[in-house]
């Protein structure tokens, strides 16, 4: 018990980072990401960090990032899901068939009817959740290893998708549905600013509310200036991000079409920015909800406890089998949500949608610090991981790196990132 006595002695001088209590891991990842972006920006003569490219980068990341948040829970509970790309394809196929064939022909709703998008999305989410739950049941109750269940699932669902559509590409999809794709559905400058403002207020409230709760119980809190600085940094990041997205101007042709669709003429010299894409908004909502689930609900607690020590969780009265079903069902739900975004971005469903996404998703979660041994992982880490992967890929494409070399680099980065993580954990005594 010698180690408990030490803090009682004169408190050691604390560094800036310690006072701010910022996760050094998070800082390291953000640092790596910033360096990566600046490097690409330098090599591409400033083409990498243009509003246009930032916009594209974010909408390209959304689909993988949404699934990566679910993969965190899967990996934290010591499982794996190799079927997410195939599941995405089945959900996408189910939704495409619902909106272009089932609803118009069976219920007589024409393409473009306001009920089509919501109904098909609900169908897709139900399909994804159900399939995920079946995976979870096989893993949890039948005790088949998740690796095998989802490896089988990879083959099964990829080809169920094929059967659903008879192997055909289905499109164009419903216009309302396409709003979830990115470029086709953005909030515009005004609402993006409104949302950014709300986000800043929410972040500030969360930080100071947490502080108040700790003070109420008499726990130590960070100095006020540290909380204020943290809030300021978060606010600057949110506002900067939205300002960048707003700065990406909608092309004049497209604006003219938009005005023509409403039967108006475009005023001379009119310009408008895209603003926040709806798909990115979906990702932000997923990120917030998943973070709350992970940290503030019993379910989230149990996910991490089960990953840390499955026997302890079971002995504490946690129904770990049912927990497995729920975790996989959640993964299925998120795959379906990704399917909405991915197919809406393409504006059609194709057979190869989501191919190799399982590897991108797992890589994103792992680069983001999720440990395959279980028990450790964060939602923001997985999203940042997805962003880093996508930046690498599109940055190299922009520089003109050969396609095979791109994959070689991405693969090497994955392995190197995990190595750095292992070394970091060893140095800091494993947190």
């Amino acid at each position: 018990m010698s180690d408990t006595a030490r803090p009682a002695a004169a408190p050691p001088r604390r560094g800036l980072l310690e006072t701010l209590q910022i996760d050094t891991r998070l800082l390291g990842m953000i640092g790596a990401f910033v360096v990566l972006c600046l490097a690409f920006n330098l090599v591409t003569d400033g083409r990498f960090l243009t509003p246009r490219n930032v916009f594209n980068l974010t909408i390209q990341t959304v689909s993988v990032a949404i699934m990566a948040t679910g993969m965190v829970f899967i990996i934290v509970t010591r499982h794996i899901d190799l079927s997410v790309g195939a599941l995405l394809a089945t959900c996408s196929a189910a939704m495409a068939v619902t909106q272009t064939i089932a609803l118009p022909q069976m219920l007589g709703l024409p393409l473009g009817h306001p009920a089509i998008a919501p109904v098909s999305i609900v169908v897709g989410l139900a399909v994804g959740t159900l399939i995920g739950a079946i995976h979870g049941w096989m893993v949890g109750y039948l005790t088949i290893p998740a690796f095998i269940v989802t490896l089988g699932g990879l083959l099964v669902w990829r080809n169920v998708a094929w059967y659903l559509t008879s192997g055909q590409t289905i499109g164009p999809l419903d216009p309302t549905f396409q709003l979830f794709g990115g470029t086709n559905g953005t909030l515009g400058e005004f609402w993006s600013w409104v949302l950014a403002g709300l986000a800043v207020l929410a972040a500030a409230w969360a930080i100071f509310n947490g502080r108040r709760a700790r003070q109420a119980h008499g726990f130590p809190v960070k100095p006020l200036w540290a909380e204020a600085a943290l809030t300021a940094i978060i606010a600057a990041a949110i506002l900067g991000f939205v300002a960048t997205l707003n700065a990406y101007q909608i092309p004049a042709n497209r604006l003219r079409q938009m005005f023509a669709a409403r039967g108006e003429a475009m005023p001379e010299g009119y310009a408008a920015g895209f603003g926040l894409p709806i798909s990115v908004l979906v990702l932000i909502v997923v990120a917030v909800v998943m973070t709350v689930i992970a940290r503030k609900t019993r379910f989230g607690r149990y996910v991490f406890a089960t990953g840390g020590n499955p026997d302890a969780a079971e002995l504490s009265g946690i129904n770990t089998r049912m927990l497995t079903v729920k975790v996989f069902a959640l993964m299925g739900f998120l795959c379906a949500l990704s399917a909405v975004v991915a197919s809406a971005r393409l504006t059609f469903h194709s057979n190869d949608i989501g191919t190799l996404d399982e590897l991108r998703v797992i890589a994103a979660a792992v680069i983001g610090g999720t440990a395959l041994a279980g028990g450790i992982g964060t939602i923001w880490g997985a999203i940042l991981g997805a962003l880093i992967m996508q930046s690498l890929q599109s940055g190299m494409a922009m520089v003109g790196v050969d396609a095979p070399l791109q994959n070689i680099v991405v693969g090497s980065v994955l392995v190197a990132a995990v190595l750095i993580d292992i070394i970091y954990r060893r140095r800091t005594g494993g947190r």
Binding site: R214, R301, S316
Partner: protein, 250 residues
């Protein structure tokens, strides 16, 4: 004498063809510590896991306060105020002390979210009582010493008002000072009227801490003796030879 708190009656459990516990009956009274002794594989842990819900017995009966009960899983055991402190410390290494203490029984806010601040406050309060030196409330329990981890495990049992406590080698990984702390704690819990099953290899500790000792060998009960009636050598003889000491044999 009053009704026993726990009656284990004719418990049998077999794995494959091997009878791990063969027709064993033991009682436990309130405010009593009963030691379970025996070699590795004698069946002590297996017997007690039937009470904690980790295993399901093949036949036999468990009575609590004289009433027969069904214990099919750890949740059933908890509902009967049976708490266990396992040899392998059933703690989730990646979570902090408060999260472990409340694992499976989290305090929640009005909105159904886990109330971290309140759980930490409660944890600080109970640790103040059990182990005043404990300060690492924010660190995952992986970073704690053996004694600190043990005090988290004990705090969990104490906090939820256990009536029946099962301790499986609670001092196996501890230094002398920490062992003394656990011994004092057992005395304190006894005074509060808990019934405690203590599984241990250390005959000396059992003789010191327990009122009675039940000795098992090869899945069968050798006998139950009052610790005051026997010497440490007698107990050792029971464990090795599987026979009651001569002055007690009928």
């Amino acid at each position: 004498m009053a009704t026993p708190l726990v009656e284990l009656r004719n418990i049998c459990i077999a794995f494959g063809g091997i009878k791990a516990v063969d027709d064993v009956s033991v009682d436990l009274y309130p405010g009593e510590v009963v030691g379970l002794l025996g070699h590795n594989g004698a069946g002590k842990s297996t017997l007690i896991k039937c009470l904690s819900g980790a295993y399901r017995m093949d036949s036999g009966e468990i009575r609590i306060d004289g009433r027969p009960v069904e214990i099919n899983n750890p949740r059933d055991a908890r509902a009967l105020n049976i708490e266990c402190i396992y040899q392998t410390l059933a703690l989730a290494d990646n979570l902090d002390a408060a999260a472990n203490l409340f694992l499976g029984r989290e305090l929640v806010t009005r909105f159904g979210f886990v109330d971290e601040a309140r759980m930490e406050a409660e944890t600080r309060r109970i640790m103040q009582r059990l182990n005043p030196n404990f300060r690492k409330f924010a660190a995952p329990v992986k970073a704690l010493s053996g004694g600190q981890r043990q005090s988290v495990a004990i705090a969990r049992a104490v906090y939820f008002n256990a009536r029946i406590l099962i301790m499986d080698e609670p001092t196996a990984a501890l230094g002398p000072q920490e062992t003394r702390m656990v011994a004092e704690l057992i005395q304190e819990l006894k005074r509060q009227g808990l019934g405690i099953f203590l599984i241990d290899h250390d005959i000396h500790a059992v003789k010191e801490l327990c009122d009675r000792a039940a000795v098992m060998k090869n899945g069968q009960l050798v006998g139950v003796v009052r610790c005051a009636d026997v010497s440490e050598d007698d107990l050792l003889g029971m464990i090795i030879l599987g026979k009651m000491p001569e002055h007690l044999a009928v």
